[in-house]
Each structure stands twice: as structure tokens, then as C-alpha cells.
């Protein structure tokens, strides 16, 4: 079954899932069960298929020859990189579909459930085709399926006017990105006369170096827009929160990685030799995106926007791995290049898991409290104990605390940067110092941000009546979140075994072909052996120490002491929800420290009892916000420029037919001269 048939079955079953949901769209329950059932079954098959295809000795390359267009071939190439992404997509889809079974219920009678299923499945098919297509035009078709389907999912909750706006911004930005991608593909076609990725790969030498540089810039902008790198990220924090939570999980967990997939595909596989400055640019973009992403996350008190900004941060960390890999590739240090790319791939998988876990838990909270505003939460750990535990595990994983998975991919990234710090060139050294500082500070800030996210949401006292009356979510939701939490721990504990898998993927790419066999062991080791870490040993020591300490403290020293339940010290005031710290207050000091970047603004509105004599204020409103510098300094001027250009272009349209005939004449003369 691990053949082209298997892949066809995968796609066809998703199509059946999509169409079936449409057929049953009148019956909420059937449509829900149908789409979730197909989501679960097909995702399981996707996991089995991708593992099977991964261990095959050769790549699965096949073409379906029922194409009626000359350049569009339905050709697929499932190499190790593709199967890795199919695995990641299927894994996240599996748990999102289980989650959907319970989560979709609250859309009953509000929206069309069948439509949700249709676009959900179409979206997944789009992503699967994107990572397996081996033809430029097929790739573009798949890319559009993925983008359009996700657009409809973003605007699914259409009664909210903000969601429509977010969807529109997403649609515009994603198509600006697609324009750049089309340009890059056309440039490749211009020199290799083919859209087939394998042909382009074989004849990449025909592309002159200058044009390779142009292709690099175009595709970095194009795919970077999808991946959400700064400054092309502005759609991401509004679009991801707008979608239903299990779709947010898919968008943040895997969709933005398709952009990273193509960056790897193009620069490690199709277009070598790499230029040094490509790596430097990717490294700097990664460093900037990581720090700014986490800083913007700190300013947020909308839980899903906060998580969306963390996606930007993590894309930054992935790019740090990719950038170092590109640099080491040029420097000829292949083992370290492999290791860095392995770090990036590991972080792609890890981020897919813990980010979907966090989005799913956030969805479970939002489902109960009906708001995304964290200031209205509080004390939910007593009302949603399972969700709280899973969110805690997700927070620890994303903050890179051992022994969860996030730490080990960041460890690998840190180790690659450390090798870069030893480089002799001043320029490279300073770039690596910058990258290391940003990664280290990002780690600290992410920890602060997740203390905020977890504590303000789940700890202390409820801040609204919705939070007071919240109840634990459905079993289906808990199963999905719990499994992801377990995977977070397992992928951490077995990081040593997994790392050889990532190195195998990396070494299958054209520019990194190495025949060395990597030993499989329980520990992660750097290529030069300068550092090693074992998650299993750490875990065993942790559990052992914990047992000793708890037995010693609880049962030997402290035998008959009592625990009394009292009230928090209140200084004589009654403690209510208004005496607790808020999310805004928690992050305020960090926001003020980084005021130069974040540009916080404070706005005070005071209303007086008597507008003539301003002594007695009736009410005071203080508004904390941060400026959207990208909108006001990049996108607004761009928009104005385009408007001015359009206005001046209007002048040639006089409405007089004679003028238009004259234009045609000029065009003919110019054309004949050129030919």
C-alpha cells in the first residue's frame, strides 16, 4: 500500500470527507461525525503512509498522466522531506479532528456545519499537495486551494465583523505573497524551460547567479509572507485567532510551515550552490522575528493573538536553524550544516505539536467563557482542571523547559549558533552573536509570557461571571489535548532517537548528501562531540530526586503537621477580582523596558461632573495600547503610494475614442520595432 495508490487513497478519502460533509450539511450531527470521522481515519492512514514511505529506500516519484494542459503535470515526488511534512500534517490533523468532534457542537444551529467540514478537508488536501507536488503549476494550484480554503475557515464565524476584516487582510496578504512566488517560478522556468521540480533541480546550473539571487529574494518574500516573518506578518495575528480553534491549531501548527518547507526545498535541494549572504539574511530575519514576535506576544491580552504572535517567534527560531545551516553549507562545514537543519526540522515538528496543543486548550477555555480577553479569565484551574494541566504542559514545552520537546530543538539550535560564534570572519561572528543574543533573550521573554498566559487565565480568582461558571469541556476535547501533551513529553524524552531521523531527512537533500551513518542513541550529541544531553537520564534523575525529597519532607520530617485553609493576606481590604494583577499589568514593565521598539501609548479620558469647573471627575478611562508600527510606517505609505499612482494613471483615460485608437497605433509601432 505504500505506493502511489496509498497516496491517492489519502487524497481521495479527504475528498470524500469534504464532499460528504456538503451532502449532509442539513444535519448538524451527521455532518460533524462524518467530517471528524474521516479526519481521524485519514489522518491515521497519513501517519502510517508517511512512516512507510519514509523507510522506503527510494523516493516515491509518480505522475498521473491525465493532464490536458501542456505544462501542468500531476507529478509528485515523495522524498524524505515531503514525507516528514505529510507526517507532521497528519499528526496534527488527527488530534484536531478528534477535538473537532466535541468542539464543533457549539456551532450547531448557528452556522452550516457541512461547509466547515468541506473547507476543513479541502484545506488539509491543499497542504498535503503543497508538500508533495513536484511541478510548479501543480504546486501553485495546491497553494491556492490551501490559501482559499483557509480564508473561508477564517471567516467561518462571520457574525463577528472583525473576522471578516481579518479574513480580507489575510486574503490580500497571501496573494501578494503568491505573486512573488509566481515570479520566482517564472524566473526558474525562463532558464530551465520547465516547471518540473526535478528538471529544475537537474538543470539549476543554467540559472545565472544574479537570477538565483533574485529568485532567493522573491521566494523569501513570497514564502516568508505565508510563514509570517516580520514585517510580512501583519495578517497572522488577526487571521489565526478568527478561525475556529481547531483550525487555528492547524494554521499555526502546520500551514505556516509550508512556507518554511518551500524555503528548504528551494535552497537546500533545488538551487544550490548557496550564497553566503542568503544564510546571513535568513539568520538576521530569524533573529528579528523571534525577538519581536515574543515582544508583541507580551503586549497582548487576547489569548489567541498571543499564541499567534508566538508562532512568529517560533518561525524565527526555525529560521535561525535554517540560516545557520545555509551559512555552514557555504563554509563547507557539512556536519554542522546537517545538525542545524536537523534542529530546524525538529523545531518544526515540536512547534506543530505544542502550538496546536496550546490553541486547542485556548479553544476549550474560550468555549466556556465566550471571550478571548484574558482579563476576563482567572481561577479556571479549579473549573477546567484538565485543560489547565494540558495548557501548563504546552506552556512548559514552548518555553523550552526540559524535559519537554521544545527544549531539545532549542538546544540543537543553540549548539549550531555556538559553532558559528567560533567563526573567524568578523562579519559572520557579529551576525552569530546577534542571533545568539536574540535566541537567549527570546527564551527568557517566552518564559515570562507564558507565566502571564497561564497564570492570568487559570490561577487566582475569577475576574468575570463567565469564568466563575465555566465547566470542564467535553471528553473529546480532553482526549485530543491530553494526547498532544503526552506527545510533548515523549518527543522530549526520545529526542536522542528522533534526532537521527531528522539528520536522515537533512542528509537526503541534494546539497547535504552525506553518507555517514548516525548512531542511534538516547542522547543528543553535537557533531564535534562538544556537547551532549540525555532527556531520559534527566527525567529519571528528576523522578528519583522527587521521590526522595517528597518522602523525606512529607513522611519522615513532617509527620503530624496540619494544613489549615485560610484566606490570602488582604491588608484589611476585601479581596475581589479587582485586586488581582491583570495581564496588561503583568507585562507592563517589560513593555516599558522595550518602549523604543513597542511604542506603548497611554491615553487618558476624564469625564467631569461639571465641564466648566474641572475639579470633580466623574469617570476616568486609561487606555494602554501599542502602536502598529508596520501599519503606520510600511503598509499605510505603500497604500498611499499605490493610490497616488492609480490617480495619475487615470489621466490617460480620457474617454475619447480617437485617443484610444492613437494608443493602439503607438502600441503597434512599438511592438513592430521590438520584433
Amino acid at each position: 500500500m505504500i505506493s502511489e495508490m496509498g497516496f491517492a487513497v489519502l487524497i481521495v478519502l479527504y475528498a470524500v470527507g469534504a464532499l460528504g460533509s456538503l451532502v449532509f450539511h442539513k444535519h448538524n450531527k451527521i455532518a460533524n461525525v462524518w467530517q471528524s470521522f474521516f479526519g481521524i481515519i485519514v489522518a491515521c492512514w497519513g501517519i502510517i503512509f508517511s512512516i512507510g514511505a519514509f523507510v522506503l529506500p527510494t523516493n516515491l516519484v509518480f505522475t498521473a498522466d491525465w493532464s490536458i494542459f501542456p505544462l501542468l503535470n500531476f507529478s509528485f515526488n515523495l522524498d524524505k522531506l515531503s514525507t516528514f511534512f505529510i507526517f507532521t500534517i497528519s499528526l496534527v490533523t488527527l488530534f484536531c479532528s478528534i477535538y473537532g468532534l466535541g468542539y464543533i457542537k457549539h456551532f450547531y444551529k448557528k452556522y452550516d456545519i457541512g461547509l466547515l467540514g468541506f473547507f476543513y478537508h479541502l484545506f488539509i488536501v491543499g497542504m498535503l499537495l503543497v508538500v508533495s507536488a513536484s511541478n510548479g503549476l501543480l504546486f501553485l494550484v495546491a497553494w491556492e486551494i490551501m490559501s482559499i480554503a483557509s480564508y473561508f475557515l477564517v471567516v467561518y464565524d462571520r457574525n463577528e465583523p472583525d473576522n471578516i476584516k481579518a479574513g480580507f487582510l489575510y486574503l490580500v496578504m497571501t496573494h501578494i505573497g503568491t505573486t512573488f512566488i509566481i515570479l520566482a517560478l517564472l524566473l526558474m522556468y525562463r532558464f530551465t524551460s520547465s516547471f518540473d521540480f526535478l528538471v529544475i533541480k537537474a538543470s539549476a546550473d543554467l540559472i545565472p547567479a544574479t537570477f538565483k539571487n533574485i529568485i532567493f529574494v522573491l521566494s523569501l518574500v513570497g514564502f516568508g509572507t505565508k510563514a509570517g516573518i516580520i514585517p510580512f506578518h501583519i495578517w497572522l495575528p488577526s487571521a489565526h485567532p478568527a478561525a475556529p480553534s481547531h483550525v487555528s491549531a492547524l494554521m499555526s501548527g502546520v500551514m505556516i510551515k509550508t512556507g518554511v518547507y518551500m524555503i528548504i526545498r528551494l535552497f537546500f535541494d533545488m538551487l544550490p550552490p548557496t550564497q553566503l549572504w542568503w544564510g546571513v539574511v535568513v539568520l538576521i530575519i530569524g533573529a528579528v522575528s523571534a525577538v519581536l514576535g515574543v515582544l508583541y506576544a507580551l503586549t497582548e491580552h487576547d489569548i489567541k493573538r498571543l499564541l499567534a504572535y508566538h508562532s512568529i517567534e517560533n518561525i524565527g527560531i526555525i529560521l535561525l536553524g535554517l540560516g545557520s545551516a545555509l551559512i555552514f553549507l557555504v563554509l563547507g562545514n557539512l556536519p554542522v550544516a546537517l545538525f542545524s537543519l536537523g534542529a530546524a526540522l525538529f523545531h518544526i515538528l515540536n512547534h506543530a505539536i505544542f502550538k496546536s496543543l496550546l490553541f486547542l486548550s485556548a479553544g476549550s477555555v474560550i468555549n466556556q467563557t465566550h471571550t478571548r480577553n484574558m482579563e476576563k479569565y482567572g481561577g479556571l484551574i479549579k473549573r477546567l482542571p484538565r485543560t489547565a494541566l494540558f495548557f501548563l504542559i504546552g506552556s512548559m514545552a514552548i518555553s523550552a523547559l526540559p524535559p519537554f520537546n521544545g527544549f531539545f530543538s532549542e538546544w540543537m539550535t543553540f549548539q549550531s549558533l555556538l559553532v558559528g560564534l567560533a567563526s573567524t570572519s568578523i562579519l559572520l561572528k557579529s551576525v552569530f552573536i546577534f542571533a545568539t543574543i536574540s535566541l537567549a533573550v527570546t527564551g527568557g521573554l517566552a518564559l515570562a509570557c507564558f507565566v502571564k498566559a497561564f497564570a492570568i487565565t487559570f490561577l487566582a480568582r475569577p475576574r468575570s461571571s463567565e469564568a466563575t461558571h465555566a465547566k470542564e469541556s467535553d471528553l473529546a476535547l480532553s482526549v485530543a489535548m491530553g494526547s498532544l501533551a503526552v506527545i510533548c513529553l515523549f518527543f522530549g524524552l526520545f529526542s536522542g532517537y528522533l534526532s537521527s531521523w531528522f539528520l536522515a531527512i537533512a542528509s537526503s537533500l541534494q546539497s547535504l548528501v552525506v553518507t555517514t551513518v548516525y548512531p542511534i542513541s538516547d542522547k543528543l550529541v553535537t557533531p564535534s562531540g562538544s556537547g551532549s544531553v540525555s532527556a531520559l537520564l534527566f527525567f529519571i534523575i528528576f523522578v528519583g530526586t522527587a521521590l526522595v525529597v517528597v518522602i523525606l519532607i512529607k513522611y519522615i520530617i513532617n509527620q503530624n503537621q496540619k494544613i489549615k485553609i485560610g484566606a490570602t493576606w488582604d491588608c484589611g481590604v476585601n479581596l475581589g477580582s479587582r485586586t488581582e494583577i491583570t495581564a496588561t499589568g503583568f507585562a507592563r514593565s517589560i513593555v516599558l523596558i522595550f518602549a523604543g521598539i513597542l511604542r506603548p501609548s497611554t491615553q487618558q479620558d476624564i469625564e467631569y461632573h461639571d465641564s466648566e469647573i474641572r475639579y470633580l471627575p466623574k469617570s476616568k478611562i486609561i487606555n494602554f495600547s501599542t502602536d502598529d508600527v508596520y501599519r503606520s510606517y510600511i503598509y499605510q505609505p505603500l497604500k498611499k503610494g499605490i493610490a497616488v499612482l492609480a490617480l495619475s494613471a487615470k489621466n490617460i483615460q480620457s474617454g475619447n475614442i480617437n485617443i484610444y485608437v492613437f494608443y493602439i497605433l503607438i502600441a503597434l509601432i512599438v511592438a513592430s520595432l521590438l520584433v
Binding site: 523550552a400 557579529s430 543574543i437 518564559l447 507565566v451 556537547g531
Partner: protein
């Protein structure tokens, strides 16, 4: 023999750390012309608290009950994983510098959560301040240790402590700069002057003390003990990574005994410096602390850029 030394290594930090907190208090008292409490007072405090009843806030959740154990266990594990008096545990796979830093960060994570859990405004703001400081401190923590890792060519702490040539040749300046950077981190992470006043109970200024304000009994004892451990761990890292003299390189009794004495002497010197700083300076205003931490990051960055390997 190795098992015996291993047991000493595992219990060394929790066993001696309260002594040095008492020592700093004693030195500070002498600076103020007071007699001061005995240096063993910290042990008595911990012992007393361990046998007291507890009061736990009704607003608190299991995070509040669990956090002291996590915070304490984390310091015990890290204490066993760092070079103290011998470098023979090079094969220990938890002694990588990054896992040490991030494990300590895990302790900070739970400490801050516990501060927020009771819904008290003191705990909340203290956690906010603690996370602000530690977010920046973590950056220079990684960078300053990366400097020595880069010189030695290994991220294993035992290997770094094992090499004696770190202060010689052209590595002298980078090592010293990185040490100053690390020293600032040490003060920040262990809540000493000018970052935090460990003796204060003035609500507006305290950070660490306000986070553990709601604790009592054995959980308070664990929190205090963990803070002492953390200070000792940071002091030992500073003493053994940047000034790796006297540390035993084998398991013979004499070098190990010398190693124990040397590390204690080095940490006593560190305590003297810390107590001196606490006696002659005032605590900084909160928004001046980032300047100090960013100075620390810059020092490490300069140190790294100065390393030229042939």
C-alpha cells in the same frame, strides 16, 4: 570510591548552602557594627519551619502546593550536575550548560506561578518583576557561559572546569569580561543587591520575598532552602568555571579534600564581595535594573567577539 564521591556530590549543595546565607548575613551584621546571628541560624530556621503547621490560601490551587517541591528539586538536580570539587563526572549527561540554565528557569517558572496563584497583589507584582528581570538575565546567563564554552570548546560544565588554561594567554580578557557579566547575572538570579533586597519586608520593593509571602511551614522552608541552593549553585559556577583552580581531577582522597576546601574558600570570597556590595550600595530603582542587565549582555558579547582562536 566513585559512588561515595557521587553521593557527596549529590548532597553537597543542599547540605552547605544555608551556611553561606548565614555567612552573608553575619558579614553584613558586622559591617553594621552588630553582633548578628550565628552563621548556622539558617539551618535552625529551616528545621523550625519544617516542623510547623501550614496555612494555605483558599484561592490557591495545586500549583501553589506543588511549586515548592519543584523549585527545590530543580536546585538539587542542578546542584548535583555542576562541578563543585571534582571534575570526574564528565560523562554526566545533565551537566550541559544549557540544560542547567533551562532547568533553573523551570524553577523560576513555578516560583512565579506560585506567586500569582493566591491572587494577592503583592505576589502578582513580584512575579511580574521577577519574570522581567529573569527574562533579561537569562540572555546574559547563556552568553556569559557560552564565552567560556567557546574558549574550551565544550558545553559540558565539567570539561570547562577541568581546563586550566582559561585565564592564560589571549583568553584572559574575554574570561574576565564574561565573569563580570556572569556576576551581574548571579546577583539578579539569586535576588541580591542591587536587584532585590533579601532582608526586606517592605511591600513596594520586595521581589522574591513577595512571591513567597503566602507560604508557611514546610513549603516556606523548601522555598528558602531552594533560594540558598540557587545562590550557592551560581556562586559555585562563577568560582569553578572562570577560576578553575584547585578542583580535583581524579578521585584520590587528597585532591578531593583540597578541592572541597578550595571551593568553599572561593565561595566564601564571593560571599564577602556580595556582602560588601550589599553594605555599601543601595537597591536600584526597578527601571534602572535593565541597564545593568543589558550592560551584562554587552560585556558577554564583547567577550565573545574578543576570542580569537588560532
Amino acid at each position: 570510591m566513585i559512588i561515595f564521591i557521587g553521593i557527596i556530590q549529590a548532597f553537597f549543595v543542599p547540605a552547605v548552602s544555608p551556611l553561606f546565607i548565614g555567612l552573608i548575613k553575619k558579614i553584613k551584621a558586622r559591617f553594621q557594627n552588630r553582633q548578628g546571628a550565628s552563621v548556622f541560624q539558617s539551618y535552625r530556621d529551616i528545621w523550625k519551619l519544617l516542623h510547623k503547621d501550614e496555612v494555605i490560601s483558599s484561592d490557591a490551587s495545586w500549583i501553589f502546593r506543588l511549586a515548592p517541591f519543584i523549585v527545590f528539586i530543580v536546585t538539587v538536580i542542578v546542584g548535583a550536575s555542576i562541578p563543585l570539587f571534582t571534575t570526574v563526572f564528565k560523562q554526566l549527561l545533565t551537566s550541559d550548560l544549557l540544560i542547567v540554565i533551562y532547568t533553573l528557569a523551570g524553577g523560576t517558572f513555578f516560583l512565579a506561578l506560585a506567586g500569582l496563584d493566591t491572587g494577592s497583589a503583592f505576589g502578582g507584582f513580584a512575579s511580574s518583576r521577577e519574570m522581567t528581570i529573569s527574562a533579561l538575565a537569562e540572555g546574559s546567563f547563556v552568553l556569559s557561559l557560552f564565552t567560556v564554552a567557546l574558549i574550551i570548546g565544550s558545553t559540558n560544565l565539567f570539561v570547562i572546569a577541568d581546563s586550566k588554561n582559561i585565564l592564560f594567554n589571549n583568553f584572559f580578557l574575554p574570561t574576565i569580561l564574561a565573569f563580570f557579566s556572569f556576576f551581574i547575572v548571579m546577583l539578579a538570579e539569586s535576588g541580591r543587591f542591587p536587584f532585590d533586597n533579601p532582608a526586606t519586608h517592605l511591600e513596594l520593593t520586595m521581589i522574591h520575598e513577595a512571591m513567597i509571602l503566602e507560604y508557611s511551614g514546610k513549603r516556606l522552608a523548601l522555598m528558602e532552602w531552594a533560594a540558598a541552593n540557587k545562590f550557592f549553585i551560581l556562586a559555585a559556577l562563577g568560582a569553578n568555571l572562570f577560576f578553575p583552580w584547585g578542583i580535583a581531577q581524579n578521585l584520590n582522597l587528597l585532591p578531593v579534600a583540597i578541592g572541597v576546601i578550595v571551593v568553599l574558600v572561593k565561595i566564601i570570597i564571593m560571599c564577602l564581595v556580595v556582602a560588601f556590595i550589599e553594605s555599601v550600595t543601595a537597591k536600584f530603582r526597578f527601571f534602572r535594573l535593565p541597564d545593568l542587565l543589558i550592560t551584562s549582555i554587552v560585556l558577554s558579547a564583547v567577550a565573545i567577539s574578543l576570542i580569537q582562536k588560532i
